[in-house]
Symmetry: C2
Subunit: 744 residues, 2 copies
Amino acid sequence: MQRTLLTFITLLAASLTFAQTRPLQGFDQAAAARELNLEAQFDSHLDAKHIDTLIRTLSARPHHVGSPGDKANTELISGLLKSWGFDVKVETFTVLFPTPKERLLEMTAPSAYKAVLAEPPVAGDATSGQTSEQLPTYNCYSADGDVSGELVFVNYGIPEDYDRLERMGISVQGRIVLARYGHSWRGIKPKVAQEHGAIGCIIYSDPKDDGYYQGDVYPKGAYKNEYGVQRGSVLDMPIYPGDPLTPGIGATADAKRLNRKDAASLLKIPVLPISYHDAEPLLRALGGPVAPEEWRGALPITYHVGPGATRVHLRLAFNWDMRPVNDIIARLPGSEWPDEWVIRGNHYDAWVNGASDPLSGQAAMLEEARAIGELVKTGWRPKRTLIYCAWDGEEPGLIGSTEWVETHAEELQQKAVIYINTDDIGRGFLGVEGSHALEPFLNEVARDVVDPQTGISIADRRKARDLVAAEGNGQVKKELLAKKTFSIGALGSGSDYSPFIQHIGVPSCNIGFGGENGGGDYHSIYDSYDDYRRFKDPGFQYSWTLAKTTGRTTLRMADANLLPLDFKALYRTVNGYLNELIALTDQQREATAFKNQLIREGDFRHAADPTKNLLAPKQSPEVPYLDFSPLQNAMRDLDRSTDRVAATLSGSAGWNDQRFHHINEVLYKAEQRLLSDKGLPRRPWYRHAIYAPGFYTGYGVKTLPGIREAIEQGEWKEAQEQIAVVAGVLHAFSLWIDTTGSEP
Amino acid sequence: MQRTLLTFITLLAASLTFAQTRPLQGFDQAAAARELNLEAQFDSHLDAKHIDTLIRTLSARPHHVGSPGDKANTELISGLLKSWGFDVKVETFTVLFPTPKERLLEMTAPSAYKAVLAEPPVAGDATSGQTSEQLPTYNCYSADGDVSGELVFVNYGIPEDYDRLERMGISVQGRIVLARYGHSWRGIKPKVAQEHGAIGCIIYSDPKDDGYYQGDVYPKGAYKNEYGVQRGSVLDMPIYPGDPLTPGIGATADAKRLNRKDAASLLKIPVLPISYHDAEPLLRALGGPVAPEEWRGALPITYHVGPGATRVHLRLAFNWDMRPVNDIIARLPGSEWPDEWVIRGNHYDAWVNGASDPLSGQAAMLEEARAIGELVKTGWRPKRTLIYCAWDGEEPGLIGSTEWVETHAEELQQKAVIYINTDDIGRGFLGVEGSHALEPFLNEVARDVVDPQTGISIADRRKARDLVAAEGNGQVKKELLAKKTFSIGALGSGSDYSPFIQHIGVPSCNIGFGGENGGGDYHSIYDSYDDYRRFKDPGFQYSWTLAKTTGRTTLRMADANLLPLDFKALYRTVNGYLNELIALTDQQREATAFKNQLIREGDFRHAADPTKNLLAPKQSPEVPYLDFSPLQNAMRDLDRSTDRVAATLSGSAGWNDQRFHHINEVLYKAEQRLLSDKGLPRRPWYRHAIYAPGFYTGYGVKTLPGIREAIEQGEWKEAQEQIAVVAGVLHAFSLWIDTTGSEP
């Protein structure tokens, strides 16, 4: 027994030693031990109860842009950050923020129905009755309009849905479309409707997507009840985010502004979101063909496409006011490299009470800042400057972050080492997107954080989920089991990292949790404290875990001698994208040839039900062979450069501070070399050659976007041009990182 | 202009000459020309108006087994066939056919609901009000029972659904299950429920499967209205079809019968089919976990699995009567080979009025027989004997055909050249299943029949649909475009071909049309003349086209000098099945190893939502390597034998009648060599080694069933044994067809 105990103690000691000495990228062994010790102290200051209190307090009343609640939160958050030792500044921008003046939707034929357009208070939800302060249900940046016309159901309202409508011989020209939420960012739906000549757009939440089909509805369960409505912006953010009147520049008091009619990100047609209670009578009355199977939702009706007897009248008018957007910027100066900035951000404005979106992330960030304040009290200081940003105006269009980035672009490109973003989160699995050079580092962070439900690391839980999903999809590959890391996603849009990465090339990441927090509260009055604590993150365990995760990310980035950016990881991922594009082009060539032949031979006509008048698709131009060699050569050179960088960095043991500073500057500014001078075709605000939100997906990322979207749209000349642009960018990147080998 | 006209006439003449001389398998050039001329005459006698009258007349009242309507139709059909010159005999069997005495389904908790269990008459449907003659909604061969218990929703009620229930920790032991129609033959649902210890089974039609989700409901559209119920048999037909009391022998008056309790095809638990009107209150009241996404239907509720507060009481009692089943057998003796029989069949009994099922096929067969009677009037006689069979008792379990085949098995194995089946059909595409040696022949038949909607051949329309479906699935393969024929399916069960092919090895095929005749009338009172003419086959164009198709099939089989059976086609298809099985085993081995490793490493546990208590799956035994070489060698020998047969047949020009008779006998009896002596494991009635209905799919075919089902069930020893059995069968087949080379 003694012997067993001894063995146990020996093992325990060994494991403690291991814990203290496990390697950290960018730290030598002694520094890693100190860092891990610091993180243990940091963890000891984090308390889920504080997060509970923060979410409850900050969600106590509606707090959209320009509201009294928003103002109160600005003061509350600023005061807290100040009290924790940060140097706090509120930066105010003045931006266009329309709110509803008049909203009317009625069916005028074949029967009369006037839409309710309101979410009722429900029992057990303390804030759902704050009617006087709630923003009505609307889509921000809808145009004013008073239109009447036949209704057409367009499914998700994405381009492929219009291809299908064309085959059915149905035009939306001069008509009003009814689209359902989902499968794209909402702003894509009215944009595509407008492109096709629609005069108005209604967007409803089908119960299949986040209502009773998914689970019990609120307040019994988390899913959307019949009156729930998703508010949200329909700014054309894939063109540019931020204040629509000041693209590319900060919306400061004296900024030169566009006329509203000249703002390219503003829609020309009226758009209104509605509940499924309001959508059902309209859909039920529709005539025309039965909707294709993949278009059908969960309402107890036969879905028809229209048009037919259903006519609707939509009248919308807005107060086109200029409102303040107040970003809270809190600094903690670095002790060694104060001009290298580690930036951490989360927005604090909401559509209504926003317990989940954004406060689940905001509260975690504040708790993280408080714990860092506690560390400072012990005499510790970060080596690099920490900047905590609580963004305002994210909901209408990433406005607070975009205007701040545009205002400080030059300084940020000099000093910003990384931008670490969070937003709404909930119970479940770690999700990470970011600059691909950060993948090994973020895996290392996730290795060191424990999942509160299972007791294993959040990295291991994430990997388990990926493996089980692969198993479910029939991807039974031994390579998957052998892989020790998880892949991080590419950044599209949808939160405040967008201006940092896509406009000015600051290495960025977005960290969250979710997958077990499903519900229908998003952008409704039911995104409340009561909903959140019951269904989204009981015990606030995942906001607490998020604070540990982003806290480690922040602390390690602040203190690492050598910034943990791994360009070999970037190379591998981008090389994967390139191979994917080559394969995509080949597949598209083969598929187009096959389909064209079927069209020519009449097979679509013969296979169609003659009573349904489904037209054969049109022939597509054949897909040429593209010359990918400039990119392939650029990738070969990048591979070699990353080898040289790795060799250089492996000799860092004897470096002095100046050498570290030189190398680190090369490392963190390298991402800027991935920007192209002209930006993407038709949207120069987006300058990153590797990542962009899709022109027709909205939030969804497109990698190698200039080339990929040209291929998807069949613009072969542009695809070839973009291959040259990206090859040039990658060449410049390789030359840049080669300078790590030169003396400072 | 004259020149153009001349060219036109020349081309026309050439095309007529071509039409007259296009080759027909089994006919020399002169005989082919005569045959095509005969078929033109045959076509000229077919009239869609006759089919209209036949369907209307025969569906004028309910005509289930033993009913006055059934008896009236027996007389009517017999009389018609006699009047057309056939020698008609009615063969009567006496079989167990239960009908409802008492039906009660009520929910007793959490609230009270008593199920309606009735389909109301609807406006515009002339026969829907014949309440006194309609069979109530029930599942034939349900057990008597009076059970109460908690309700569990089991999705489609197939084995994989119970695997999922097990992971949810939910047992059906001592409970009543609620399954939805679809994804298996209905009889599988209570059988699997019973295997899992359920005490009762309710089967409902979810609106997602054939109700409003699919299209407008009856009488506005073709789909199931809220009260529609699918009747149908739940006999365990995968064990044996036909009268449950006389397996393997004809149910003649003096047959030795089993006691009812000893009949292996009879269920032990009560089963009742209900409408979605009756299912909704039960489903709505269910507690327990939310149903997995793929389990959810289209009712406007959150689907839960149960158990929970929902308790139901199910009381069913039946009249277990013996009833007559009257097969109508009509002969036209052959002029040259009267002892070679071409058998054509379609059932005439229905669950209610049965305009579609079975009269759409029955009327086509009768019109075909009438046209043949017209040919006979001109002095023509078939070379082989034609036998037209109108089967009774198909609905309760293929009873009429099975009892007839069992009674005449020995003579049929001597004389039956082919059995050609049809059943309910409708507007759309040709569908053919059959003995694979018939594939080239059936393609040739389909080449020569014109589709009434498109004007191209039914073969070309079918191929167009296959190509467009492939395009939709992303299967863009040049081979597909190069393929000049369509594949015929393998025969499972579900109609009267089953005893011919699977029990006694008569070459068989099943021919139909459909795909544009969707609706919810199946086995309900709404399968009526009014429903049929409006939605299923307006103008009766496809029953008319069916008569042309099966008429050609019958006439060519009757008159061909050399029977058009192509064993190379059989070889190719079976070789495909073998390769598929080898690949299946390899995939299953890899998938099992992968899944087992994930289970061992805890990935399923870690990936699961802890609040949902989803258990990890159990580890499966690893998949060994099987020895497929006996089958591979048998296939190699078969390949060579089929080459020799082809060489022999190519020299047929100088043969005398005796030689033809010898060869033809070898050809048509070859299918019997594919029967195994012992039949399939645990179901010796099924003797065909290549085709059988699945033990757990019901109608759905399993090819190489002995091996495939053993692999699917993880019975490795049995799989290896069955490889030897099938190899033996194929070896015997090769030896048999080698006898074509010997002198008679």
